[in-house]
Amino acid sequence: MASGVSRWLTATVARVAPATPHGRILLLDVPGWPGNRPGQHLDVRLTAEDGYQAERSYSIASSGDGETVELAVDELPDGEVSPYLVEDVQPGDQLEVRGPIGAYFVWRETQDEPVQLIAGGSGVVPLVAIARARLASGNRSPFRMLYSVRSPEDAFYAAELAAIDDPGFRVDWAYTRHAPEAWPHPLGRVTPESVARDTIPAADDPLVYVCGPTGFVEAVSHILVDLGHAPGRIKTERFGGA
């Protein structure tokens, strides 16, 4: 699975499926795709009729060999690319992709340490790829995921995550605006108290992957360091832009 590939490949949309009220899962057929590791991303390039081009990075929810790539895209209202991917693009349509990209925010089956995944919003996408890879492998390292979303309906892959039935893999949820009935914890952004309660303690020296909007990642990283995690044990990936 080569990395560092800079050429653009033509992708054909194979399937689209709604995922949240403002997000969609896309399956792309990409002839020539070399396969990818869990956690990697790709760049999507759209070209308008007048030649104007827009590029954005999207994390990949799938991993392994094969030429089919799964993306999950959250629509940003004033975006240039995401509204097209979420509202307009249909099976058979073509777009350009460059990738896979990323040699840092990846998980390898040979890692034998505890892993804590922390996602904000659609930042869960690369972490789903990592979770799937762990569950499909013989790797039995303890895994835990903390997923912060606005409300239950805003969660990507909610059913899949809820169905994880593995004694070594626990999923914790945090809700910022609306929670399921009888939710025992306060609503709102994650706090030092909630992170301490809902993640693997620093004493166990987990490798932590944090992905989400820039502000979320910065806040969580600071909390983790304050809780005693070594900065070198926290891998981050930020997104934002429209």
């Binding site: 990209i101 925010f105 930020r238 934002g240």
Partner: protein
């Protein structure tokens, strides 16, 4: 530029990181820079390129040190060509390829 997504309430502060910059720069460097360790000439901070501050727009990108916000590199491209300036980038250390 600070924007809040009215539906998700998530704030986009307009700043990403080296992960997002890696694709654009892959055409120049021929390697995936994310796992490379970069050093800031000003404050001496060293760390993975994936963790640097990056600002991207249609014309190019600017990469800043996460420690002191000094500009590490600037890349601008357009119809007339492209330009790379290694402002404060002291070193790029590439890991052994797998």
């Amino acid at each position: 530029m600070v924007r809040m997504n009215p539906r998700t309430g998530l704030v986009d502060v307009g700043r990403l990181d080296g992960n997002a910059a890696a694709g654009v720069l892959s055409g120049l460097f021929r390697v995936d820079l994310t796992a490379a360790v970069v050093a800031c000439r000003r404050c001496g901070e060293r760390g993975p390129f994936a963790e640097v501050v990056a600002e991207l727009d249609p014309e190019g990108l600017i990469v800043l040190c996460r420690g002191c916000r000094h500009t590490l590199l600037t890349y601008v491209h357009g119809p007339g060509g492209a330009s790379l300036t290694l402002d404060g980038l002291g070193a790029i250390e590439l890991p052994a390829t797998e």
